[in-house]
């Protein structure tokens, strides 16, 4: 019995989103978890690397989903938060010699602060104007990272090379495999925290603001505070994803965090279903694997093929993976009855 099924069983007459609309039921979650645990055991190291990136981008899409799906604010600037997280981890590891795992919470906290502060001026903006302001942030970030003033720390245009960690306690595991499981644990923890958050008083405040700011304020919700908090939380999670990305890719450079990353994350959110947290992983799979598939179909026109595939997805399932999940649940429900 999953949440998606509740839609069908509880209120067939209206187009209802159930109480657990943002998450999956226990059964489906366990199956997903099982797949994610088993998957790397049967594939080559490069695929394991890709699966790790799948989880990392999944986290970044999840973060955007909390911001846009939860509090109703747009952002095309997630690549900036991702970059700050990546550089924080890389600098702490290479210049300070800190353990990679310890750098992640620091990356998260730094990005939370950065996002919270950026959220202050963003309060005056909404909708497309907010999207533009965040776009400006994403455009400025690679150049800021190249600044000569910070070069000693950031490595300037060259970037920084990050050492890949070995599996601890002498575990018989390749570095890629270990990183995958490490990332998986972090991802699951953050996913659970996010689900808790959205189901709590704070999460309801986010969603109330998304739906009607004036009514939210009349209910005693400090709209400005919760909007900036949503920015902070989203940036914080993106920062952790960025840190993980730096460790996995073993390299940070300004040109790895351009606006196209932000747009990809936005795309991932739409394909996964805005406001549906489990869809984040589907969206992440789309932005990682579909460009490869497109390249497989036509080398010269890979961009065009990608565009057509994207167009098809948006045309056929405008609500993304969430819509597919609901349809699948309905089909399973019918099969069970027969």
């Amino acid at each position: 019995m999953s949440a998606v099924e509740d839609v069908v069983t509880e209120a067939p007459a209206v187009e209802a989103v159930p109480k657990r609309a943002m998450t999956l039921g226990y059964g489906t979650s366990l199956v997903m978890l099982g797949l994610l645990i088993v998957a790397p055991m049967f594939v080559k190291n490069f695929i394991i690397f890709q699966l790790t990136m799948l989880l990392i981008y999944g986290l970044a899409v999840l973060a955007l989903n909390i911001l846009t799906g939860g509090s109703g604010q747009f952002s095309l600037g997630q690549s900036a938060f991702y970059a700050v997280g990546a550089y924080t981890s890389a600098i702490l590891m290479e210049h300070v010699g800190m353990n990679y795992a310890l750098t992640l919470p620091i990356a998260g906290i730094v990005c939370f602060g950065f996002g919270f502060l950026f959220g202050q001026p963003a309060l005056r903006l909404s909708g497309v104007y907010l999207a533009l302001a965040t776009f400006a942030l994403a455009t400025a970030m690679p150049q800021l990272l190249k600044l000569g003033y910070f070069e000693h720390w950031t490595g300037g245009v060259q970037g920084l090379v990050v050492t890949k960690p070995d599996a601890p306690f002498g575990l018989p595991m390749s570095q890629d495999m270990w990183l995958y499981y490490f990332t998986l644990v972090v991802t699951i923890a953050i996913y659970i925290f996010s689900v808790n958050l959205l189901r709590s008083r704070s999460g309801r405040a986010f969603m109330a603001i998304r739906d009607n700011e004036i009514a939210a304020s009349a209910m005693g919700i400090d709209v400005a505070l919760y909007k900036t908090l949503a920015f902070g939380v989203s940036a914080g999670i993106t920062g952790v994803a960025g840190g993980l990305g730096a460790i996995t890719v073993q390299f940070v450079a300004p040109d790895g965090y351009t606006i196209s990353l932000a747009i990809n994350l936005f795309l991932g959110m739409v394909v996964g279903g805005v406001g549906w947290l489990p869809g984040s992983i589907v969206g992440s799979a789309f932005i990682i694997f579909v460009p490869n598939i497109a390249e497989g179909i036509s080398k010269g026109l890979s961009g065009a093929v990608f565009g057509i595939l994207l167009f098809l997805v948006i045309f056929l399932v405008p609500h993304g993976a969430r819509q597919v999940a609901i349809v699948a649940q309905q089909l399973i429900g019918k099969l069970k009855k027969n």
């Binding site: 209120a11 209206v14 808790n196 709590s200 405040a205 109330a208 009349a218 919700i221």
Partner: protein, 265 residues
């Protein structure tokens, strides 16, 4: 009536003193004053554009009046930002229903308790023991209110799919969840049919009697106001025209002129 008379002896619960609001060159409210006593149902009437909703929005701090004061239990509310009005016990509904359309009925009512609960994002994310306890208590209260307003059947349904009359009840439930001392109802009868208006009138009186909420009712529907209000204030063109019992206001020549026009106009 007896409750209203008892209230007279004390200070007013809410005192509106000489409120004026100017939009550009238009004077929307001009020196309006009245008092509300504990346990009263006060009807605020007036033709379109009389300033009823403007006054309402001053009370919930969406508009800043240019001169005047509004006192709640002797304390001015004008230094409070809009989101800190709910905590001193002023709740409201909106003219055309302002619910959170993508949330369920239960979640809408849960948001109503925001000003009566505490949390922070870290405890919420970790779902700490005190957060779980708080949510359990809150659920009990929310379910009680949902039952009180007969919304059990639709408790899990997203509000955007509900009929208008039901949405209005959800809005009442959400306002009651904040445990208000004063409930501001902005045209609750708008869009309802004759039968529904009658039921609504009973409901408002029941809320006053059983939940000890003082009610300020802005309404076009004369029948409703005259049947349930203890005290009526009539506005026209931003000025107070008349004030008194429903019968007195109804027979006031100025009020009749404002609504029906007079021979010499």
């Amino acid at each position: 009536m007896t409750q209203a008379q008892l209230g007279r002896a004390q200070d007013p619960l809410l005192a509106v003193r000489d409120v004026s609001v100017v939009f550009g060159g238009i004077i929307a409210l001009n020196g309006v004053s009245f008092d509300m006593d504990q346990g009263q149902i006060l009807g605020l009437i007036g033709p379109n554009g009389a300033g009823k909703t403007t006054l309402f929005n001053c009370l919930s701090r969406l508009y800043q009046p240019s001169s005047c004061d509004i006192l709640m239990e002797g304390q001015s509310i004008l230094s409070r930002p809009p989101h800190r009005i709910a905590e001193i016990g002023i709740g409201r509904t909106f003219q055309n229903v302002a619910l959170f359309p993508n949330l369920s009925v239960l979640d809408n009512v849960r948001v109503g308790t925001h000003s009566r609960t505490n949390s922070d994002i870290i405890s919420d994310s970790l779902r700490l023991a005190w957060v779980r306890r708080g949510e359990a208590e809150l659920n009990e209260r929310v379910h009680e209110i949902v039952s009180y307003l007969d919304l059990d059947d639709v408790a899990h349904v997203t509000v955007s799919g509900l009929p208008f009359g039901t949405q209005k009840r959800v809005e009442l439930a959400r306002a009651l969840a904040a445990e208000p001392k004063i409930l501001l109802l902005d045209e609750p009868a708008g869009g309802l049919n004759h039968e529904e208006v009658h039921v609504l009138g009973d409901l408002i009186r029941r809320i006053r009697d059983e939940r000890h909420v003082t009610i300020l009712l802005v309404e076009h529907h004369m029948g409703l106001v005259m049947s349930i209000a203890d005290h009526v204030v009539a506005l026209n063109f931003g000025r107070k025209l008349a004030e008194g019992t429903p019968a007195a206001v109804q027979s006031d020549p100025d009020v009749i002129r404002a609504y029906l026009g007079s021979k010499d106009q």
